[in-house]
C-alpha cells in the first residue's frame, strides 16, 4: 500500500513538474519539486529507502529531460549524504529539510552546470547560473511547506 502511495506521488509530481510548473517558469526557471521531495524524504526516512526513492524519481525526471542521467546521479548522492548526516542533527525535521533545500539547490545547480559545460560543451554563463540559483532556491524553499507535510504522511503511513 505504501509503495503504491509513493509511486502515485512520484508520477503525480513528475507530471505536475513537466506540465504545469514548466508553464509557470520565471525566465526558464521553475521549482524543482522532485529535488525538494527527495530532500524531504531523505530527512524523514531513516533507511536506504530514501536512496531508492531518489533514484526512481530522478530517473523519471531524466526520462522527461534530455541527454544523460545526471539527475539520477546528483539526486542519489544528495539523498545519501542527507541520509548519512541527518542523525547528527536534533530538532525540527521540517526546519532541517528547509536548510538542506537551501544548501543543496545551489550545489546541485552548480554541479549540473559545470558538468554540462565540461562534458557537454555547453557555454558557461556565470550570470545565468547565479540567476538560476537565486530563483530556483527561492522557488524550492517556497515548495518545502507544501511538500513536506505530504511526504511526512506518506513516510509515516
Amino acid at each position: 500500500m505504501r509503495l503504491i502511495l509513493i509511486l502515485t506521488y512520484v508520477i503525480f509530481l513528475v507530471v505536475l513538474q513537466s506540465v504545469v510548473f514548466s508553464r509557470l517558469h520565471f525566465f526558464g526557471v521553475s521549482p524543482d519539486l522532485i529535488l525538494v521531495s527527495i530532500i524531504c524524504f531523505a530527512v524523514l526516512e531513516k533507511s536506504e529507502r530514501a536512496v531508492v526513492f531518489a533514484a526512481g524519481s530522478a530517473f523519471l525526471q531524466d526520462v522527461l529531460s534530455f541527454g544523460i542521467y545526471l539527475h539520477t546521479i546528483t539526486r542519489v548522492a544528495i539523498s545519501w549524504i542527507i541520509n548519512s548526516v541527518r542523525g547528527s542533527f536534533a530538532g525540527n525535521e521540517y526546519f532541517l529539510a528547509a536548510v538542506f533545500v537551501f544548501l543543496f539547490t545551489p550545489l546541485a545547480l552548480v554541479v549540473e552546470s559545470g558538468f554540462h559545460s565540461i562534458f557537454g560543451g555547453r557555454p558557461f554563463d556565470i550570470g545565468h547560473l547565479l540567476f538560476t540559483i537565486l530563483v530556483a532556491t527561492f522557488y524550492n524553499l517556497f515548495m518545502v511547506p507544501v511538500l513536506f507535510p505530504i511526504l511526512r504522511k506518506i513516510s509515516c503511513g
Binding site: I11, V14, L16, S18, V19, V51, Y69, W80, S113, R122
Partner: protein, 270 residues
Amino acid sequence: MIGFHPYRQKRSPALPIVIILVAVVISFSAWKGLFGIRSFVQAVLFPFQSAAVSTWKGIVGIPSSLASARKASEENAKLRKELDSLQPQLIFTEELLKENSRLRSLLAIRDRNPYRLRLLPAQIIGRAPDPWFSILQIDQGKEAGVKMDMAVMVAEGLVGRVVEVSRYSSKVMLLTDAESSVAAVDGRSRDFGVVKGAPPGRLTMKHVDARGDVKVGDIIVTSNISAIFPPGLPLGEVTDASRKEHDLFYHIEIKPAVDFSKIEEVFLIL
C-alpha cells in the same frame, strides 16, 4: 548482557555507489535508451501528461471563456454584416489569388514555399524539467510518423527539431537551446552564417563574414544549404550587428521570431 546500539548507525554506501556507477556507465554508453525502457516509461507517462494538459488548459481558459462568451454574440452579428458587404470583393480577390498562384509556379517558388509543406499538427504536453535544456514534449510520436531531426515550426517561424521519439510523444529541441545550430542567411543581404542558441531564450548568429552587410532589423531565415530545415523559414530579427576593425566575423544578436514561452501548438514538417 544488554546490547549496545550506537547513536549513529553507519550506513553502507554500496547502494548509492552502485546506482551512481550504473547511471554514469549508461549515460556515456550506447545504451542511453535502456533497451526501450526510456521510451516505454515515456509512453506510460503520456496519458497522465495529456490529461494534465487538458485539465490545465481548462482551468486557465475559464476566465477568458466567460469574458469572450459575452462578446461572441455581438461580434457574430457584426461580422455577418461585414461579410455581406465583402462578398463582391471576395470574388475579385479569388481571381487575384489564382493569378498569383500561376505566377508562383512559373517562378518555381512553389517548391520552396513553406506553406506548401506537409504539416502534422502537435500539441505541447510538457517541457523538460531542467533549466539547462530548452526541450518541449509534443503529443505526436512514432505512431504518427514522427522521425528524428524533423523540423518543427509555427506560423511565425522555425521552432526547432525533433531529438527524441517515443511511441506516442516526441521531444523537440528549441532553437534557443545551447546545442542547437541552424544554417541561416540574412534575408536582405544573403550573408550566410550559423544561428546558435544562447540561453536563456536568445539567439546569436556566428561565422558571418565581417565583409558582409548585416544590419539591425534584418530578418534571418533558414538557408538552403541546411539538410534538416527547409529554406526560407524565419528565425528572427537582428537586434545587434557589430564588427571591430580586425574582426573576421560579425557579432550578431537575434530576437527569435517565435515566442517560445507562449507556444502551445506546433507543426512538424513531414
